[in-house]
Amino acid sequence: MASQNPTTRQIAMVLDLNKCIGCQTCTIACKKLWNTDTGTGYAYWNNVETLPGKGYPKDWVESGGRTPEGEVKAGRVPNLDDEYGRAWNFNHEAVRKRSGEGKEKPWLRPDGAPRWGANWDEDRGAGDYPQENHYFYLPRLCNHCTHPACLDACPRSAIEKRDEDGIVLVDQDRCHGYRFCVEACPYKKVYFDPKRQVSGKCIFCLPRIEEGVAPACARQCPGRLRFVGYLDDEAGPIWKLVNRYKVALPLHPEFELGPNVFYVPPMSPPKLDEKGRPTGEPRIPTEYLVGLFGKRVHEVLATLESEREKRRQGEPSELMDLLIAYDWNQNFALGPREREVL
């Protein structure tokens, strides 16, 4: 186990997967803000993937992390062609010009021959239609782990975890582009820029946080499914969702890194029997969710169902009100730090 000490404070995010519509607004908000350089075309500090699916990069879940005993697991750097996928442009102009002319159908096509991409298996999901087909969206970003594998992997100490908020940052002036951080992070949320030959990763929109503004991915989310605040703020949404109601779970806790991004797991409508009648069994197999978020999924889904039932009966539910985000201001509990004005 890495020896990183817990920080004085830890900023965190909770994402309610029951509300994500896969619109990718968060992805674009992040991308346009932080990753428009030539060497970062493939890099999405925030992405949204469809599950069940192989994700981005492809099959990322199979590389890196630690064993339950805390031993390092060797990872690897994904390949651009087959696992990240090269960014491409579409032939919009050609299609526009040919529209309505001749017999040949003007298909919209990529300008290369991509083999994978950031949302390659969008909306495929799993299960037979119409009895049990299902999918849901999983937005992912750096987890700003309590014990970051990337930090532990860097021989140059070019990665730090800030004591005041637990945000994990790459010092690109110290980075020599070795990519051990890319290898070691099991979430594959560190990206190498081959043009500048340095690694980069989500900075939790640090300049915004320091002004008391939530990260772009959270502020731009039309579904209001993201909550941002400090883990120790008992008046804030994070503490309520993670500690009071205990409905927010880390992704792949078995990696043993202490992620500080948490998810409210998705509920799902029932499967149908051969006559089209609801069976009462959720379409998204609970054991699949256990594989993502750990064994506590059972109790979380029970809590969510119970609180939903309260609302159906007209009873109050602070948890449901919070998750619905009637008052969007309650999604974020951040305050600008006192700072010297120059």
């Binding site: 060797a74 651009l80 021989p155 990519r179 051990f180 190498f192």
Partner: protein, 176 residues
């Protein structure tokens, strides 16, 4: 040459993930060192079946590289890239760059890169499965004083970078 001991690499990942990497990817390298006037001329040759000269836009590709180093003080340890107050200095050649990079370190993980001293340069050629690299290093006073040097070679095709390198087994005395 020997494999640089990954067990010494800083951080918790490399020593565990690369524990099996005990054999050098460049078992043999040949060198010649001579001084002509003020200029140290150092030739280094090694086998390299698959040269990696550029990254392009790939993210899982690594570059061939080599370094020549000398101690700034007599007892600077070579295998740990020096120690606090006992620096190594020298030149780093990378197959994807034209000029040399100046390097200085006072221990593992402390390498600082900068401009090489004025006039330092290198010519490299890959031919028939071998790299031939000729350093021209005028005015290298540290080597003048210490008369010992060491080499490191990174094979890009073998994922060489950082501590994943082949190194001379220790300081090589070059006489007077």
């Amino acid at each position: 040459m020997i494999a640089a001991p990954v067990g010494l690499s800083p951080g918790g990942y490399v020593p565990k993930a690369y524990a099996e990497r005990t054999a050098p990817k460049t078992p043999v390298a040949e060198f010649e060192a001579a001084k002509s006037g003020d200029v140290w001329q150092i030739r280094l040759r090694w086998a390299c079946a698959e040269p990696h000269r550029e990254l392009g836009d790939d993210v899982d590709r690594f570059i061939d590289a080599a370094a020549v180093l000398a101690p700034t003080v007599a007892d600077a340890p070579m295998m740990t890239m020096g120690a606090p107050g006992k620096a190594l200095e020298g030149a780093l050649w990378r197959a994807d760059r034209t000029g040399l990079i100046g390097v200085r370190a006072e221990g593992l993980g402390t390498v600082e890169r900068g401009d090489a001293p004025e006039g330092w340069g290198a010519k490299a050629e890959w031919k028939a499965g071998r790299w031939s690299l000729d350093f021209e290093l005028p005015g290298w006073s540290v080597l003048d004083a210490r008369r010992r040097l060491a080499f490191a070679i990174w094979q890009g095709a073998e994922g060489g970078r950082g501590g994943l390198k082949s190194v001379s087994p220790g300081w090589i005395e070059i006489g007077t």
